[in-house]
Structure formats: C-alpha cells, structure tokens
Amino acid sequence: MTTALAAAPAPADRHGRGGRGGRGGRHVMPALGTLPFFGYVAVFLLIPTVIVVVGAFRSTDGSFSLKNLTALGDATVLSAFGQSVILSAVTAVIGAVVGGLLAYVLVTGSPRSVSRRIVTAACSVLAQFGGVMLAFAFQATVGFPGAMVTQLLHSWFGVTGSGSWLYTVTGLMLVYSYFQIPLMVIVFLPAVDGIREQWREAAETLGGSTWVYWRRVAGPLLAPAFLGSTLLLFANAFSAYATAAALITQSNPIVPLQISGAITNEVNVGHADVAKVLALGMVVVVAIVMALYAMLQRRTSRWLG
C-alpha cells in the first residue's frame, strides 16, 4: 500500500480542492476516507481467509507444520476430492453444451424478441436459484415414489422408481444442471452476440459450407469464451454446498460436505484443522480454475468484446 501511495499522486488533489488543502499528508488523507470499507472487509473477508490458510499450516502447539496437510492424503478425503471434481466437471460440460446451444439459438432470433427477453430473464433468475429450495424441487419431482414425474412415468409407462438415486452424486449431477445451464447462458451470451452474420455470409460467398464456417470461423472465435465459461461453471459447482447438504444427509461424498462434517465434529481434537486443510484445498482448486478463466476471458475480449 505504501509503495502505491508514493507512486501515484492523486490527480484530483492538484488544486487542493475540498477544503482539505491546509492539512498535511495530501496523498494519504483522501485514502483515509476508504478506511471504513477496507477495515470492514479485513474483518469479515480477509481475516477469515487468513485464519483458514494459517490454520492449515499450524500444529496443535501453534508452530508452523505441514503435518495437517497429510489429511489430504486420507482415502476418504481423496475420494471426496475425486467425486467433487467429477461432479463439477460433468455438470460443467452438461451446462456448457446445453447452455451454449440455448445461447446460440437465442442469438439467431431477433435481439428484441419476446422469447429472448423471457429466456434471458428466466436464466438470470435460475442461475441464482440453488440451495435447499432447489433440493426440494427435485425431491418433489423424482425423489420418492409419489413424486410427480415418478408417478407420471409409472402410470404412463409402468416404470417404477424409488428415487433413491437422487440422493447420490449422480442425482446431484441432475440437480446441479438446473443452475449450471442458466449460468452458462448468462456468461456465454455476450460472446455469441459478438459473432457477426457478415462473417458467415463471407464464408458462404467464398464457398464454405456450414461445417467449414463452424470449424474455421465461429469455432475458433468462440472456443476461448466457451472454455472460459465451462471453467466458471466448474468453479460454481465445486463451491456449491447447500443443495448437496439438503439432499445427502447420510454421508459426505463431496468436499463441501466433508468440510461441514469436520466443522460439526469440532469436539474431536484436530477436526477443526481438518476443516481448514480441506477448505484450503478447495480455495486452491477454485483459485486455479478462476485464474485460467480470467486468462481466457482476456483472450475472448480481443475478438468478441
């Protein structure tokens, strides 16, 4: 902070405006106005993050140690990370493909059409929809023999289902898709919007087929945005907790559930540290994914700003 202070004199202060010119420390004084905000963020965001990171590297007597990290080698923890990665990857791909297709068909219509406005409005709502309410919605759909869709399938096709698969990681894949698809539409739509119809016409005039157009023009242009959005979806699914917690109560197959298990087990000595180590592991994964996302995002904006 001090280096930045020295490096960049606040331009607005040149004329000593605002009646503060008489006081000393011209460059520092204006920055004091942001103190409440940064103080607040320090207490409720930065310190908790530091607590997690430091806690993961601290032994019971308070000294630095890597011993806690051995918890990451534990078989159940490894399997939880594996399951989380699979769940996030599968739902990210489902979301990206279906959401990408939806975004594409929306763009081929008129930008002011009612259908487009309704679908984008619905998507921006549904992407925020998660947690307990979403879990209930799917329970009411296929979660037990009397659920609406299960019942319909039974009376129409004679298929019987107990719905127990919903309460597994496979079930979570279906449920997560419910917010992944709309999220994809929201983040991918601007990129698809950037595609000009003239490019397609140019390809056609030069004798290119639809296939050539997609492989040589639209595909390469959209690829960074598509990949980037997929990564964002991955991070989104990886961080989600509430939906899984409401559906799966008997075991902790994915990392967020493992963390909550470790927190509620805090009475056992050492379990709080396990929570911190797991949390650190999650942050590392999400941070890497988000960094890649930011990189791809920059690449996208070069062509499809």
Partner: protein
Amino acid sequence: MTTAAPAPPRPQQLRRTRRRKQATLRWIVIAVVMAFFVIPLLSMLYFSVRFPLSGKWTGQAWSNVIHLGSLAAGDPADYGQLWDGLKNSGVLVVFTVVLMVVLLVPTMTWIRLRVRWLARVMEFICLLPLTIPAIVLVVGLAPIYRIVSNLLSTSGIWLCFVYVILVLPFAYRALDAGLGAIDVVTLSEAARSLGAGWGRVMWQVVLPNIRSAVISACFISIALVLGEFTIAELLNRNNLQTGIFLVSQSDGQLAVTMALAALVLVFLLLVVLSLFSGGRRSQEGS
C-alpha cells in the same frame, strides 16, 4: 466473382432457408430446456396441494404458510423456528442492503473522486468472494462470529455482516456500471462549489443519479440473502432457509410450500430486476 454473377439472389435465398431452419431449431431447444426448468417447479406446486399417500387434494399447507405466525405460537420447536427464521431473514434483508449501500456507495464514489489509484485494489477485493466459496469462508468466520456473539448477541440477524461480503461482487458490478455512466467528478465539483458538504453530495447528488444501479444492487442482495443457507447452518444461526430445512424433517409439505412461496417472491423480484436492467440497456443502446 464473375462466376457468381448469374445467381445474385443466392445469399438471400440461403439466408432465408437458414432462418427457417434456425427458427425450428430455436423453438425445439427453447421448449426442451424450458420444460426442464418448469417441471421441478410444477412438481413443487403439485406436492404442496396433494397428500402423496392418499392422493387427496388440500390447501392446508398454503393456509398454514399464511397463518404461520399463529402456528408458531403453538409449536415453538418446529414452526416456531421457521417463523423465527422468517423474521430473521426479513431483518437480514434490510440490514444487509443498508450496510451494503452505506459501505459501497460513498467508498466507490470517493475512490473515483480522490483516490483513483485504489480503484484496482477495490475491484480485486470486491470480486474476491467469487473465488472463496461460502463453505470455506465459514471455516474462518467461526472465530470472528464468536467475538460477534460476545459483543452483540448470538442472534441470526448479525449474519448481515458476512452477507454484505457475499453480495459484494454483484453489488460492486451494478454500482460500478452506474457510477461509470455518470460524470461523478463534475457533478460533485458543481455541488461542492455551490457549497454542499460531502454528505449532501453523496445523498442528494450522487445517489439519485445512480438510483437504478443502487436498485439493481439491492434486488440482487435481497435474492441472495433470502436464499442463503450455508453460512447460517454452519454458524448455527437461524434464517428462512435453515428454518425450512428444519421443518422439512417433520412437515415436508409445509416446507415445500414455504420454499415455493419464497421462490416465487425471489423470482418476481429478479424478473423485475432483469427486465428493468434490460430495458435500460436497450434505451442506452438506441
């Protein structure tokens, strides 16, 4: 080029057939995906008005939602918790929104006016919660909230402090767009030269000019607060979602009905928001 000369209408023809094909594809894709979105919601509605075992129709759950207050008095353990959580969430919405506006609007304006070199830091910090999942944040928050409990109380309403952090990325983006669209420097210089104090500049000059951005930020905050479960559950605080979850173990129908009611509320709120912001964008575009 010369070979293409005898067929000038070709591109238009192509375009027309493509348009037709695209329209068919469009409607199929939209219909299928929308069905996927709508069926779970319909199922909730179906579940809320019908006993799953006997198959009898009932409006009991909906009337219970409306009369939750009086039900709560009779059964403090379950319905009482839900009622309490509902009230907490109501207070949380107000506290979070007020705190968010009070913290962000003056700071962001001030940074634009006087401390531009902090803009990057501010942006980084505001977007940081996107990379720190709530389930991770809650691990580090436990000691902080132990202090909060000692200083204030163990009530769920103090979750507003961390909820401000959760809404930070979304609120920041909305407000940043709003502030970017007006000339803050000129506006505040004009007000200052006419003798207005900084408080007056914020409340009577800046705030009214970014009203729609502030409203967007508030709406998204409200939706987030009403849907939050993770942090409340793991810090053992009570809010609407933890209340619904608790009740679902004894009265699934009421829980689903309550969830649907909350959902419809949030849904309407966000639809209003997105139509609102969409409308504004198209105005700016024209």
